[in-house]
């Protein structure tokens, strides 16, 4: 129930997945809007919350990565073509890399900024800067890096969501469903049925979808 198995994601992995997903999407929206606000006071406060949630995201990603490495991963459906399995693995590694790099680049940006604004996470915890040299050049570099990594994250999240929806609603193999409920993710050999226990997909309909 809590841990992953070869057939299903455990509750911990599922909760971490959706919590981090919510944080990342919120941070992308926050980050895009806060630098375009005319109200400087609101912009300053949003940036401080952006820093706080970014550090929280980084901490959760590290926990999630450790959790993933410590236990098994559910298998891919045997009906999935090899190229899709390889693509999924590459996509997941890229996502993990970005989930680490994006908040780290933000932390680096804060650390090298000549504005030297302290990071008081959630207005409670003073977070030290990374040991990097403060300069306008370094600030420009990390600002550009953080922005570009943010755009890359938007692309990867969009592809990830689109792929999940395709598997769920086009191929009907229940890959999305098994990230929703730990007990509903038992793998089915029958490709006409999804992985979700209790859910059934009409075999003929699924076959039609695959042959379109």
């Amino acid at each position: 129930m809590m841990r992953n198995s070869r057939q299903a994601y455990g509750l911990v992995a599922i909760v971490l997945h959706w919590l981090i997903a919510l944080l990342i999407i919120g941070q992308l929206v926050f980050g895009t809007l806060m630098v375009r606000l005319a109200d400087q006071r609101l912009a300053f406060e949003l940036i401080q919350w952006h820093k706080s949630f970014g550090l929280l995201t980084l901490a959760l990603v590290v926990i999630r990565l450790a959790w993933r490495l410590a236990g098994p991963l559910p298998s891919y459906p045997p009906t999935l073509p090899g190229w899709e399995v390889r693509s999924a693995r590459i996509m997941h590694r890229l996502l993990y890399g970005l989930m680490l790099a994006l908040p780290l680049s933000g932390w680096a940006l804060v650390s090298v900024s000549v504005l030297a604004i302290p990071t008081l996470a959630f207005y409670l915890v003073l977070v030290p800067n990374l040991p990097l040299g403060v300069s306008e050049g370094a600030e420009d570099f990390w600002s550009a890096a953080h922005r570009l990594l943010g755009y890359a994250m938007m692309v990867l999240v969009s592809v990830h969501v689109a792929a999940s929806l395709r598997h769920e609603f086009w191929l009907g193999n229940g890959l999305l469903w098994r990230m929703l409920a730990p007990r509903r993710s038992r793998f089915r050999e029958d490709p006409s049925r999804n992985f979700a226990e209790g859910r059934s997909v009409d075999a003929a309909q699924a076959q039609r979808r695959r042959t379109r």
Partner: protein, 188 residues
Amino acid sequence: MMARLTGIGLLLALPAVAAVSLGDAAGRYVINESGSTIAFAIPKAGGGALTGTFGRFRGTIQINGQNIANSRVDITIFPESLRTGESRTDAFLKSDAVFDTAHEKEIHFRSNAVKRTGDSTAVVSGPLTARGRTGNESFNVELKDLAKGAISFRVTGKVLRSRYGMDVGTPIYSNTVDFDMTLAARRG
């Protein structure tokens, strides 16, 4: 805020001077902008402070030789002249988040009480007006020099930003602003 500090400094200096040579100190003085500095520091979480100065201000000091308590200081500071050494910080402090210099052109201090605290020190109090809000503030003043119609004071004090709607960034930046001013004035 800087302006009010300056005014306070002058008032305080007057009582102190009076103790040494009140007859010589009595009269009206005009603050000399080029010989004065109005500096501020806002402590930051984790240490250090955001520091800056106001470059433009004006004011007068009226020293009552018969009764120092009746002396007056009137100072106006122009927040558009603030400098921190970092243009983005300047722009932020001048924005509607803090001083709103597009709409609020002046900060004003007018003393209404002077209390001598030593041979060369005093406390000057009075209303400070910034961004349309008025609060009563007090500043410590020390007479540093008095010679040939010129007088100078060191003025220090603490002002709460929140009283004037400028509390953005607390507690990352302290709500308390520390002022440290040198005010030079000439009889005139």
